[in-house]
Symmetry: C2
Subunit: 197 residues, 2 copies
Amino acid sequence: MTDAPKAMTDLIDLMARLPGLGPRSARRAVLHLIKKRGQLMGPLAEAMAQVSATARECLNCGNIGTTDICEICQSEKRGNGMICVVEDVADLWAMERSAQFKGRYHVLGGTLSALDAIGPDELRIPKLLDRIASEQISEVILALSATIDGQTTAHYIADQLPGVTVTSLAQGVPVGGELDYLDDGTITAALKARRAL
Amino acid sequence: MTDAPKAMTDLIDLMARLPGLGPRSARRAVLHLIKKRGQLMGPLAEAMAQVSATARECLNCGNIGTTDICEICQSEKRGNGMICVVEDVADLWAMERSAQFKGRYHVLGGTLSALDAIGPDELRIPKLLDRIASEQISEVILALSATIDGQTTAHYIADQLPGVTVTSLAQGVPVGGELDYLDDGTITAALKARRAL
Ligand SMILES: [Zn+2]
Ligand SMILES: [Zn+2]
């Protein structure tokens, strides 16, 4: 791109580093931003500057907020003795959107992975064990991916918590899912976990 | 998203308005930005603010730059009597990346479209005719999409220019293909094999 001014090529290069955007979609996005600079690029620049200056990880659970201890950890109402363990903040947001879980969270920051040499100390697992020892926890719900690494992590955590009720999200047919489109593993899991109607 | 602070949900909503990003990829992108706030989000906010404040359309050709008349229109070297007509700035950038064309551009801002009620006056066509009358133009290269609307636009422009050599990109542009999707080599080949209309 010999033509575009340096500030513009810098912006495209930065945008291309976002997950899901390659060089081409970054160029498209920047042209779109330039066309909508009043309504979109200006506000976006401001929102980014503000979030960049204020966002921080909760020291207790790993959630992202604007305070050292996040709103969920601060809320008395959420202290119902349940902790839901998730891999990352996107999963916490997904749980919150379903609006079913009323307890607190613990964000691991990933899963155990032999391949990527990620052990318990690379995740927020020691802090989880601390919390379970110090908070009044009656149940730990593991809401981890139904992948090998996710399930290895679930079993590792369950093994560390002999005196605590540990549950995990049920595996099965997704709501609205057609059987014909599901992989064999999902069908097998759904069959094993079948319940009386 | 009952949980994320307002500044963060605002940022996600703004990001979701970018082409190619939906709500889910916008949430992923914002989490990535927050994790990389020092190296990525801060610089991105600054680059956006700068481009937002400085970007403008060239009054002559419609290219985007930081001056009323863009660098290509200002450059004596680029005044070789050739104008390459493109649909939008992304296509101009694609042409510049192939580094084969040494003349100036004219950005139409779209194509004629009966369906969308886009006529010549909605595009930068009158300005193109002005330029051809006032600048010393020996050849107009139409580098438009190989779509029905693109080719309709090419023929419309050719009909307005009886005394000028009008060529178009030919070989290498796949039927139904948009210029911005093509690799540099294809653009180079298509430019070299251009034919008189
Ligand atoms: Zn927290
Ligand atoms: Zn120009």
